[in-house]
């Protein structure tokens, strides 16, 4: 398998993860979508020095990993490319914000360091939450949930097609890379002199394919909207899940849980 095929394989692996069965997988997609959004919004909204308040937020993704039986390793493996980027966001904070914030024994920790760690954790938590949503909900159900939440049909269709289109483009790239390397033995990758034509071809080919695919959708009666897989009714347990999670998140966000717990033990 070349790199592109690996990428393709990973893409389909997400579909396969999402097709598994667990209490989390069986929840209504709208319930999962809503809780994920609330979780992300609240996580991001923590103040920049609120490290101790933020840490308990990790509980939710950890629980979800447990219940849905999705390996944490898979998550980090899939996120290996975006994760460092997101983590890098706060990297310069320690240089700008040198005011000492707290001292641990002889060690003084500046505000910059705390805010850097806070930012990194925020990024990590949000990525994990999004990953869990994708890994427990098929893209079609997710789209149908978005429709139920009155997201405009055009945007949802666009989202779905983009998701599919990434697959098409990667597939073309895989085929072309193989074809190239078969006739360029001993080369590690595609030689820089061929990049231009390679990219041009890739674009043309994936445009052609996208067009044929779209034609084939039209031929089979596609007009205006998809018939997404029926998600079934929004049941009591879906409501309870959303409400329960929402309340816990709010609690964690606005009540200084760690400090309260800490004071229990210190006193």
């Amino acid at each position: 398998m070349n790199k592109m095929e690996t990428a393709l394989h990973e893409l389909s692996q997400m579909d396969e993860l999402a097709a598994q069965s667990s209490p989390i997988h069986r929840l209504h997609p709208a319930a999962k979508l809503l809780t994920t959004i609330v979780y992300i919004v609240l996580t991001v909204s923590f103040p920049k020095y609120a490290l101790s308040g933020l840490i308990p937020m990790v509980l939710w993704p950890v629980l979800l990993f447990q219940i849905s039986a999705i390996p944490v390793r898979t998550c980090f493996y899939k996120l290996r490319i975006v994760l460092p980027l997101v983590m890098a966001v706060g990297l310069f904070n320690p240089f700008f914000d040198r005011a000492p914030l707290l001292s641990l024994g002889a060690l003084t920790v500046s505000g910059g360091v705390v805010s850097m760690v806070t930012l990194m954790l925020k990024g990590l938590f949000c990525l994990m939450a999004s990953f869990l949503l994708m890994a427990t909900t098929p893209i079609d159900s997710l789209c149908s949930a978005l429709r139920k939440l009155h997201m405009p049909g055009l945007i949802v269709t666009l989202l779905l097609l983009t998701y599919r289109y990434v697959g098409v483009m990667t597939e073309e790239l895989a085929i072309m890379t193989d074809a190239y390397l078969l006739r360029a033995p001993g080369q590690k990758g595609i030689h820089i002199s061929a990049w231009g034509s390679f990219l041009g071809q890739l674009l043309l080919r994936s445009m052609d394919r996208a067009q044929e695919l779209y034609g084939s959708m039209l031929l089979r009666g596609y007009h205006e909207h998809f018939h997404y897989a029926e998600a079934g009714p929004f049941r009591l347990r879906d409501g309870l899940y959303t409400l329960g999670c929402g309340l816990v998140f709010l609690l964690l966000r606005f009540v200084p849980v760690t400090r309260l717990l800490g004071s229990l033990f210190v006193r």
Binding site: S12, E16, R209, E212, L213, G215, L219, G221, Y222, E230
Partner: protein
């Protein structure tokens, strides 16, 4: 009823690919559309489906192939593309197959029944939940055919239905085509298959209609076939 009236088409101005083509296919007929590579067979199919627009008139059951009629016309026609990779756009075979029936307003149970019927007909039950991009070339082709059968259209257009199939699956597809009562237009370089499935043949060369008549007569005409870069079906070649 499908009718072409003086249809011409060019992808690039100045080099016509279809030239003044006229023919008529009655309900229930099976027509083989043959011709060398680049003769224009796939283009004819795409014109009929309204994927391309040329000059002249194309009628399907009296409806002209024009933008405002496309939804109605396409509902009547099931098209198996030459390249199955471009036909299947959903993640799994099942989702691809159920796409059209749902779009045409069937309820999910009805649509499921159709999917299962089509899969049973082709003996493909075990492909149902497979991922499209993990199928072999021939499996993809069979799945693409199943997708169209699940539409239960009034007419079926097939562009090279047996390319990439092993002899066993080729035989299955031939038998299925023979069993379908719908109008059929089939293009292929597999002239033995055309002979088995079609009672009439239209021969194209450089976008022009060169011959139109009973399959048995045209496919036995060695001189005619060779003049148009084709060979006799194996059955008649005495090999």
């Amino acid at each position: 009823m499908i009718e072409f009236q003086n249809v011409s088409f060019a992808y690039d101005k100045g080099s016509p690919v279809i030239r003044d083509l006229s023919f008529r296919v009655e309900d229930g007929q099976s027509v083989g559309l043959i011709g060398a590579n680049g003769a224009g067979k796939s283009t004819v199919m795409k014109l009929l489906l309204g994927l391309l627009t040329g000059e002249g008139k194309i009628l399907v059951d009296g409806l002209e192939v024009r933008k405002e009629n496309l939804f109605q016309i396409r509902r009547k026609l099931g098209f198996v593309l030459q390249n199955s990779d471009n036909q299947m756009f959903m993640p799994t075979v099942y989702e691809d197959m159920i796409f059209a029936p749902l779009n045409y307003g069937l309820s999910r149970p009805e649509a499921e029944a159709r999917v299962d019927r089509a899969l049973g007909l082709l003996g493909l039950e075990e492909l149902k939940h497979r991922h499209n991009h993990k199928l072999s070339g021939g499996e993809k082709r069979m799945a693409a055919i199943a997708t169209i059968l699940a539409m239960e259209p009034e007419a079926i257009l097939m562009d090279e239905p047996t390319a990439a199939l092993d002899p066993y699956n080729r035989r299955i597809v031939i038998n299925i085509i023979r069993g379908l009562s719908q109008t059929k237009i089939i293009t292929s370089h597999d002239l033995d298959m055309i002979l088995d499935t079609c009672d009439r043949v239209i021969l194209l060369s450089h976008g022009e209609l060169v011959a139109d008549g009973p399959a048995d007569a045209i496919l036995r005409d060695k001189a005619l076939l060779e003049r148009n870069r084709m060979e006799l079906p194996l059955r008649f070649s005495g090999k």
